[in-house]
Symmetry: C2
């Protein structure tokens, strides 16, 4: 590995001069510049990023903390972040927190020690103070929590009302909701949307709430249980995985989807097109959420003003077979 000294020696100039041409910074004679560039070429010299980082305290690296990349909601989000950061020559360190406060803190510590230029955080668990005392730019993604930071989220409340209303529109009157984990903010927002819509339709009934934890399996069991005790003709699941669980439960009981029970999920992950029947869902602009988060992080890093601090992206009803009935 050639260093800047080697280049300087070969070109017959000082390292300062080489640094100047490297960073297009300060004046340098045209001829000298040519010589330097030739030397760089010859030695195939690439500046050492670590040394640069040590001096400039900026690493062209960001940290991305997600609960669990193997949860099918996150890969697309991560991909979007990576794509955009890549454009701006940033590299991303991926961290899986499992929503554990302990792991998050640890990661943040490590990231700081590595001089990351910013952090994108997808989590709710993190105690405010921890993040507040961070001296790097932060963007909160997907799970709204701290108004103090820029954030990118989707319209969970509105989406939930939309889903509930859709089930109503196709004729459902006993609409159950499989709820996500209570400590996850977006799950609670979806619940609120469901509740408000049900109340305004005059259909609200506490017995229609099914406890889920965003996992297929648990949702299936809970739905099985619920369906035995209570009659329902529509299910709005808090995410797509749970919608699949509900689908399996309904089918296992010998009921038809959508004729006997209509089902709609939430998130719009690719999986929803793979079931039979295909699942209706509220689709979030996952890729766009990640991309915007990345872009506003870069803006912050570059010290540019954000024209908007909190992004709430619209969601969209995707109507598929699992809710396709005659409208009344």
């Amino acid at each position: 590995m050639a260093t800047i000294r080697d280049v300087a020696k070969l070109a017959g100039v000082s390292v300062a001069t080489v640094s100047r041409v490297l960073n297009q910074n300060g004046y340098v004679n045209e001829d000298t510049e040519k010589r330097v560039r030739k030397a760089i070429e010859q030695l195939n010299y690439k500046p050492n990023e670590v040394a640069r980082t040590l001096f400039k305290k900026t690493s062209k690296t960001i940290g991305l903390i997600v609960p669990d990349i193997s949860n099918p909601f996150f890969p697309e989000l991560v991909r979007a972040v990576e794509d955009v950061m890549n454009i701006y020559d940033y590299t991303v360190i991926l961290c899986n927190s499992d929503e554990k406060n302990e792991k998050e803190k640890q990661y943040i510590e490590v990231l700081k020690q590595k001089y990351v230029d910013g952090i994108i955080l997808t989590t709710t668990e993190l105690a405010m103070e921890e993040v507040l005392e961070l001296d790097v730019p932060v963007v909160i993604l997907d799970r709204p929590s701290m108004p103090a930071f820029p954030s990118v989220v989707a319209d969970n409340y509105g989406g939930a009302r939309l889903a509930t209303r859709h089930l109503y529109d196709i004729g459902c009157r006993k609409i159950a909701h499989i709820q996500g984990p209570p400590h996850v903010v977006n799950a609670m927002q979806r619940f609120s949307g469901y509740r408000d819509e049900m109340q305004s339709l005059g259909l609200w009934d506490e017995n229609l709430i099914i406890q889920g934890n965003y996992q297929l399996k648990q949702a299936k069991e809970a739905t099985l249980q619920a369906l035995k005790e209570y009659q329902v003709d529509g299910i709005f699941a808090g995410n797509d995985a749970m919608a699949v669980g509900a689908l399996k439960a309904v089918q296992q009981l010998g009921l038809r989807v959508p004729e006997d029970v209509a089902i709609i999920g939430y998130d719009g992950i690719p999986l929803t097109e793979m079931t039979t029947p295909e699942l209706s869902t509220i689709s979030q602009p996952i890729y766009e959420m990640g991309a915007i988060a990345a872009r506003i992080l870069v803006k912050q890093i570059e010290g540019k003003p954000l024209e908007q601090i909190h992004y709430m992206l619209p969601v969209e009803l995707i109507e598929r077979q699992s809710t396709r009935r005659e409208k009344r």
Copy 2:
């Protein structure tokens, strides 16, 4: 951010001494050590990783290059790598190559400049030379290609034979194969397994080969086409996504799965449990593959000998509804 100088000053010792207690390296008087530790505590001092990296040329960071994290095969693999590296205090930089040589080269360049301690590579496209002249440890994951490097792969050939044989065992005689992209080594190995098994069963027929590209959509179209032209009673898809495509095609033609056409996929991603009927598949130990790759990378980094260079992990037949018929 406190530096080692601050600690030294507060403890009334030289930085060298502080460094010694930090790295348990060299002798230091017990009392002195106590004073130093107290100072560290008081200032909440954390050594600056970047400075350390510059000096030691080791960053406690590795690069992980995958084709595309949003392809459902990779999240679990990535998760495994992250989990294991985390245990050894390494951090992972995630890179999506899209199997593009250009992007891979670029990433490798960047990773080298950041002094990563090692690279895990999931790709076939990379020209040998590029990687060969890397001076950091490398592990090839999932896609066998270069015997020069340690690798972790699954038994693609054996798995394909197993799948084909399974379809035969449940009574299929016209067994089609949806092939993965020709430039992907593991797709070709699976094809070989299929071909050899079919030949040894005396069922080989070139017309039964369907061209796929590992994508659901394309596989569905191709299968639709194939089914119209040729009668088949079993389909072995080169991966699970294509198996879903095949499933959709078969269902669209009004045929029953598994009665008319049995289907088996490959990979064993969670998705296979979510379809109706649930898909039989050849399950690869995805998490384990990632974990082993990470472990042997660490071993290499630490300069320890590998007891084995090439790992070929066994696969497993998972029998689900899509092939559940009476055996004959």
